[in-house]
Amino acid sequence: MADTVLQVSGLSTDFVMKRGTVHAVRDVSFTVREREVLAIVGESGSGKSVAALSVMRLLQPPGRVTDGKVLYKGRDLLTLSHKEMRSIRGNHISMIFQEPMTSLNPVFTIEDQLVESIKTHMKLDSNAAVARAIDMLRLVGIPSPEKRIKDYPHQMSGGMRQRVMTAMALSCDPDLLIADEPTTALDVTIQAQILALLSELRDKIGMALILITHDLGVVAETADRVVVMYCGQVVEEASAAQLFDQPLHPYTLGLLESIPGMEDAESDGPLPMIPGMVPNPLNLPRGCAFAPRCSRREPRCSGGMPELTELGDGRKVRCFVAADMIAAEVMPRD
């Protein structure tokens, strides 16, 4: 078993606002091992990005971590001082963001921005830093990096900018990269390029990757393990193979079915869909948050919150019905 890089346990994050308190992340636990790609899947408002920002301690007020531990190689990141945290970010854990258009500073060249972060984190002189920046651009597949490094962000396309962001995040050899929707803003052919790049980099430099996405297709292509979130909670955890072979939580199942995939190119009927919408986070339903939209709903579902039940070989599910079915070994295979 590979070593654990990051272990998050019982993480809870609240946003206290005038209208009430939003529990954006509720008791979330997951671990990432060396060289592993962990995908965190969920729709907007599921708390996946807030969980990542909590790990990096980048939350803006009114967001506040209220409970939990984030152990990076045995140190709890939540108890570190700001100075210690700054040396973790970039050097050990890096993050890339969804919007390659807005995450780069438009008034500085790519060189300025890359060299700044390299010099901040590594003890290199200017020439060595520039050389390293060019190497990083080459690593992420930017053609003629010696020339492109003088460009401003607006001179590059979206895919190129995302590559620059990736180069910046990787420039100080992190052990863990957190990628928050790295391909959502990109075209499909560019998305395929970036995903191939991330997998290749994992193999080449041996880092672990947390991939935050709403796209189960992207997950299937890249992830080793998957955590599915809904309304701030983990509702299912499984290896990617298990999850797509036999999704247990009704929400996972609904998400998978409602993707207009390529498999059923022959069907003409209506798409299967999840009715209703994500509940208001200020006013979550009693019991299971997914119950109002669930096709397998039973009276007990709106009575109390189901526990995240361990099912063996790393599978977990937060659903009364699925847990019972597994216990009785009558789970239908889809």
């Binding site: 979206g158 207009p260 798409l271």
Partner: protein, 329 residues
Amino acid sequence: MTEPLISIRGLSKHFTMARDLLGRTTSVLKAVDDFSLDIYPGETFGLVGESGCGKTTVGKLLVDLYRPTAGEIIYDGKDLTKLKPSERRAYCREIQLIFQDPYSSLNPRMTVGDIISEPIRVNRLIPPEKVDDRVGYLLNAVGLSANYRNRFPHEFSGGQRQRIGIARALAMEPKLIVCDEPVSALDVSIQAQVLNLLDQLSEEFGLTYLFIAHGLNVVKHVSDRVGVMYLGRLVELAPKRELYRNPLHPYTKALLSAIPVTNPAYRKERILLEGDVPSPIDPPPGCRFASRCYVKGTCGGCPCESETPELVEVSPEHWVACYLHSGPR
């Protein structure tokens, strides 16, 4: 064969990027170039391409938000591009647009009722006293409660706002609706709801759709025929099943293989295209896809980089613009 509802013939839209001292055009962005397409009544035509390929420009040309540089749009026996603005307005009603972003396409200061009834009142489609009933009917048709008419757009979620946008388009009693990426700003579980709604409405109201999307997976479910665009030109056009079973153009193949697949049994060898879509400003002669093409020149002597391939019917209803399949002229 039924008559097409709308016939687009050699449509082009060029934007002037630079002029010299004498005002002569020196640099042209060819957003749409020599684009021809028939759309038949009752069908859903899916138009697919990446950002910058001109698919949205085609939609805007159809609803008269842009004036074409060249070409004809024949609707109801008349060429819409030759009509005077006053004559053209009558036809605008019958071709409506649904926008991509449900957050910016609804006026935040108008109530939902006003948003939907404004086009009805402006065009005096029905007597004023019946407008309220009509708004209620339209809201119900898109799956919203008629009581929502007094609320403002910010009170609704993305999926609900898109429904309001659809109701507004329906208010004009259109024949053709141009759907410009209507679900790409929505969450996955909501996308399926809106796609199903559009499908159901097409039967209820006898609508024809031009459905614009950037991924082949989204149009797959809704379309009858699919066209693939690359840098302002149509590169392949076929009935849905034929296109997905037997894609011919190398770009279509790459697009299909780039879709992440959740079922490992359906995973195919991925064709990774190199580089980005080139700039549509002053494109080089020849096939627009040549700079990224992985089969370029394999047929021997094809003028891929000097002459633009024409769209040729290679099997019934399956059109492709690639020398590999049409052969050099």
